[in-house]
Symmetry: C2
DNA sequence: TAATTAAATGCAACATTGTTGCACTTGGAA
DNA sequence: TTCCAAGTGCAACAATGTTGCATTTAATTA
């Protein structure tokens, strides 16, 4: 908890209960946290505060977000390569259709994403399928 | 217009004014159409009808949608490989930060998207940058 | 340790996107 | 022309997200 406090202060963010609670939830969650989960775990906080807290953490490179279609937004911790200057992620986002867990994953090899005569500044890869844990269960059941 | 009507009837959808108008707008728009654009071009239609019409076209493989972060949803025509059985797109979605146009584009080469021990069913690649047209303008201005 | 203040929070009000139920209307086939 | 399943409009609702303003608080400093 003291680490999270330092992390916030390093970014010139006050270590308030709201921020510590949300950061701690995101850090300890199995995979990326759906927005609804943040809301229900922090029901005593005003919704506005939750939104503003999330935005502060996003802008300062402590967490990042991803979305699957129109559905819920998910939040996960950032690697140390992120800062208030911007986000730098190499990973992709994966949602398992079996256990519903959303996670940050590394690809086997980094793909070359190019379109002729276009300048590409940001790449976002969103995958759906079955995760390693659920595949193992399926195999062992059969 | 007669083609669009046939297209709808082939999918067992009635060729109603709402559907013809939305399909026609999506077909003739420069790039993918933002939702707000559909709404403002079809202001005389009830919002519910717009949502239901869009959903019908999505489910029947006539159009597809994409999103950039929390921002607006965009709609574009589907290739003929899509049907009520499901969508089959090879293309990626690109948003130009200069002209704001969102478009479906093909990559130079199809990347191999793999995560060890995961089964990947659906790949969604969302790119941001500067499109070919805006790059040309920048070059000719300098 | 108390005072100070910029930053953070809570509350109220609002806007947009999206859904559902139900009554009414209509496209397309017989 | 008739018919009816499919489509539409309306009302009500729910969730996400934003803004302005008054109040509270974390962290500094005296």
């Amino acid at each position: 908890m003291e680490e999270l406090k330092d992390l916030l202060n390093q970014r010139n963010l006050k270590a308030t209960p709201a921020r510590l609670q949300i950061l701690s939830l995101v850090q300890n969650y199995d995979g990326a946290v759906p927005f609804g989960e943040i809301q229900s775990h922090l029901g005593e906080l005003d919704r506005t505060t939750i939104f503003r807290t999330i935005n502060a953490l996003l802008q300062n490179g402590l967490i990042h977000k991803t979305q699957f279609g129109n559905a819920e937004t998910y939040f996960a911790m950032c690697p140390k390569t992120c800062s208030e200057q911007g986000h730098q992620h190499q990973h992709v986002h994966f949602k398992c259709t079996n256990c519903e867990v959303v996670s940050c994953e590394d690809l086997s090899s980094n793909p070359r994403i190019e379109i002729p005569n276009f300048q590409i500044d940001k790449v976002d890869i969103i995958l759906t399928g079955v995760c390693n844990r659920c595949l193992v269960v399926q195999v062992s059941v059969n």
